[in-house]
């Protein structure tokens, strides 16, 4: 009897129990109370095993964040609390500014007002709960100028997990996932604690925390500084003494060993100095910090554009190609090869002149010609990358391309008409990339997690620049982002603070050595200026 239970139970645990087996298991349980208890014990151990194993265990912090993100934000109560404390502490003229525009604490998570939709491609894992979406990264190194690092040297664009950054010289601009931006000036040591908290052990940092980054906290050996406004600078001396200079808005600063009742509200134009040890009351000092805009690294173009273009195709080909493999551009191993499903006699069409007209800066470096697609059958063109996207290592890749929808056919949301994806023959279930749905909403795709689409559709007969970012992690999640620039949008000179679409974190593990350009029957379009590079600036050329 027991052996039969063992067998049925294992099938049940593995999801392989058929209807007859289930009814047999029910009968066994009905006959024996001890067996029911044993079954419940085994079930609980099985479920706890799931929690005890790697991915679930790692997701403890993700669970905390996902939960906090779902909390209702009670702006009135929060405002009342802050305002009442300000009134007691310092009834000055700045209080009038405290009609805070909005509290983005919850909005910080709903980045870019994106819309999660069902995966268009068959997902590897059926569903993923909010809690299981790991978000181990806390910030991005957006820019590094003359930066010499001690210990690990992060690269521009790199996503950062909690840990220490030691900057020997130069400056580094960090974009926290909470929305706060910090410029670190070397020599300095900053520990990233979370998306909303960092600890400055020594050196200087200037922070700008607007709207949704409200509440960003910077700790030092002698003080805790909470942003209640927008802009402040903090410096820490080697002995631990710290100075807090407020450039704009309001900051709450507390001595390290103080209680919340000892908090000091510092308004703009004021500065306080906390002695090392954090015991004595702070003293007021002249506000001398340089505004954020001044410490901001000089705008691009820099003397030397950092990063490399890994692959480029300007689609400078003859008008029609019924056969052959167009192999222009650089950074590829071979030409475009027709593949995929339902191909029939699809003809690859090009318009030799002119190039698709994108932003001026882009056109200046463009080669003639564009790729045309009139919206026939589903067709995929594949091309081998000289430098694959390796999801097993820590890396950052950027891609940009121009798209113009020419046949304004509207279709169902699920019927995408264009996609650009990284794939490999070796692991067909591992793919990621970008596309546009039948309802003209651009989306990002990463196999196994739900797709995420932009809130707004793109318009037909308009040329858009798509700029994507692919983050791969050895031990950290893979991420995918998309920013779209319309004909009238100014180009971001550096990686933007807000992406049009931020995909769900994922963990893929393949080396994707092919780029697939996929077309559906739901809209004809022109495609041009495909670039893959290692930095934002390498795929978004600046005006020179």
């Amino acid at each position: 009897m027991s052996a039969r239970f063992d067998e049925l139970w294992t099938d049940f645990m593995e999801g392989e129990l058929d209807a007859a087996g289930m009814s047999e298991l029910r009968e066994l349980l009905a006959q024996d109370e001890a067996l029911r208890r044993r079954a419940a014990d085994l079930y609980q151990t099985h479920r706890l095993l799931g929690l005890a194993h790697g991915r679930a265990a790692e997701s403890a912090e993700a669970f905390v964040r996902a939960t906090v993100a779902r909390l209702p934000v009670d702006a009135d109560a929060f405002t009342a609390k802050i305002v009442s404390r300000i009134a007691v502490a310092k009834p000055d003229k700045k209080a009038a500014r405290l009609a805070w525009p909005r509290y983005g604490l919850a909005a910080a998570v709903a980045v870019g007002a994106t819309l999660a939709i069902q995966a268009l491609f068959v997902p590897k894992r059926a569903t993923q709960t909010a809690a299981a979406a790991p978000q181990n990264y806390v910030a991005t190194l957006v820019r590094a100028d003359g930066a010499q690092w001690t210990g690990g040297a992060p690269r521009e664009g790199q996503r950062l997990v909690p840990g220490k950054l030691r900057l020997a010289s130069g400056s580094a601009m960090l974009q926290f996932d909470s929305g706060a931006t910090a410029i670190l000036t070397g020599p300095a040591e900053l520990a990233l604690d979370s998306a909303t908290t960092a600890t400055l052990r020594v050196g200087r940092v200037t922070v700008r925390a607007e709207d949704e980054a409200f509440g960003f906290t910077l700790r030092t050996p002698s003080s805790d500084v909470v942003d209640l406004g927008t802009e402040f600078a903090v410096s820490v001396e080697s002995g631990g003494a710290s100075e807090v200079h407020v450039l704009e808005g309001l900051v709450e600063a507390t001595a390290r060993n103080g209680t919340p009742d000892d908090a000091h509200l510092i308004s703009d134009g004021k500065a306080l100095r906390f002695a090392g040890g954090g015991k004595d009351a702070p003293v007021e000092v002249p506000m001398l910090a340089r505004p954020f805009a001044e410490v901001l690294p000089p705008p691009v173009p820099r003397a030397e554009t950092p990063g490399r273009v890994l692959a480029y195709d300007g689609f400078d080909y003859a008008a029609e190609m019924k056969s052959g493999t167009p192999d222009g551009g650089e950074g590829w191993s071979g030409g475009w090869v027709r593949g995929g499903f339902g191909v029939r006699d699809a003809v690859l069409r090009f318009l030799p002149e002119p190039s698709l007209r994108g932003p001026d800066a882009l056109s200046r470096t463009a080669t003639g010609g564009q790729m045309l697609f009139d919206g026939g059958d589903f067709t995929v063109y594949k091309r081998k990358l000289a430098e694959p996207l390796d999801l097993r290592i820590d890396s950052v890749r950027y891609v940009s391309f121009l798209v113009r929808k020419t046949a304004p056919r509207d279709a169902e949301a699920g019927e995408e008409w264009m996609r650009v994806i990284w794939a490999t023959r070796a692991a067909k279930a591992e793919r990621c990339g970008f596309g546009v749905l039948g309802n003209n909403r651009p989306f990002v795709f990463s196999q196994g997690v739900p797709n995420v689409a932009a809130a707004e559709p793109i318009a037909p007969e308009q040329t858009y620049l798509f700029v994507g970012k692919l983050v791969t992690g050895r031990d950290t999640p893979d991420e995918i982002f998309l920013k779209i620039f319309g004909p009238r949008d100014a180009l971001d000179l550096r990686e933007p603070k807000r992406w049009t679409v931020a995909g769900k974190s994922n963990r893929l593990d393949a080396r994707l050595d092919e780029l697939h350009l996929g077309f559906g029957p739901h809209g004809g379009f022109a495609f041009d200026e495909l670039r893959i590079g290692t930095t934002w600036e390498s795929v978004v050329p600046a005006n020179r």
């Binding site: 609980q44 669970f63 939960t67 909390l71 809690a131």
Partner: protein, 195 residues
């Protein structure tokens, strides 16, 4: 897993004043006991993390009702029980739930435990389980890793090890049974004042 009330009171007071960071810290401290309890009592097919998250959300919404000086953990588990009942009700509304997903008597036993047994001991079980996993051999740990970390199909496990699917199933059953026995021994020893 017991949380000292003295360290918790200021956090609760701050959270009651709608300090999100204070409440985030509360979530962090109770994440393991609440999640462990939820996964262990959520019927097959249910979303345990959803139960756990809803518990914290409901707690945040009702923080004003919490009486200082009483056990916050007990209060939180009371909310968790209600959230679990809601999830169980949702599942029962699915057609053929019991014939497709779970024997009714298993669900009933889980329900009984959720109501009658001390909720905090699930976190202890999780700790014991982790210690017991350490004692398994490499081969056993690998099978569990395939099953619970990377979710590899049985067929693939069989191919990787050069064994039959039946042998893998048996292996999984024995591993779970071994861990079950180890957990029980550990908890008994702890109850007797050992460890």
């Amino acid at each position: 897993m017991r949380i000292e009330p003295t360290s918790l009171d200021p956090l609760i007071r701050r959270a009651q004043r709608r300090d999100l960071r204070a409440f985030e810290e509360i979530v962090r401290r109770f994440e393991t006991p609440i999640r462990a309890w939820a996964v262990a009592h959520c019927p097959p097919g249910g979303d345990a993390d959803e139960v756990a998250q809803r518990t914290f959300i409901a707690a945040y919404e009702r923080l004003a009702d919490f009486e200082p000086g009483t056990s916050f953990q007990a209060w939180l588990f009371t909310i968790a029980r209600y959230q679990l009942m809601t999830e169980a009700t949702r599942l029962r509304r699915l057609a053929d739930y019991h014939s497709r997903f779970a024997p009714e008597l298993l669900d009933r036993e889980l329900e009984r435990r959720a109501v009658e047994e001390a909720p905090e001991h699930l976190a202890e079980r999780l700790t014991a389980l982790r210690a017991c996993m350490e004692k398994l051999g490499d081969a056993g740990r690998e099978i569990l890793h395939w099953r619970y970390d990377v979710d590899i199909p049985l067929q693939e496990m069989a191919e990787r090890t050069g064994r039959s699917v039946g042998a893998i199933k048996k292996n999984l059953f024995l591993l779970r049974q071994k861990l079950q026995g180890c957990i029980e021994r550990k908890l008994e020893t702890a109850a007797e004042g050992g460890i």
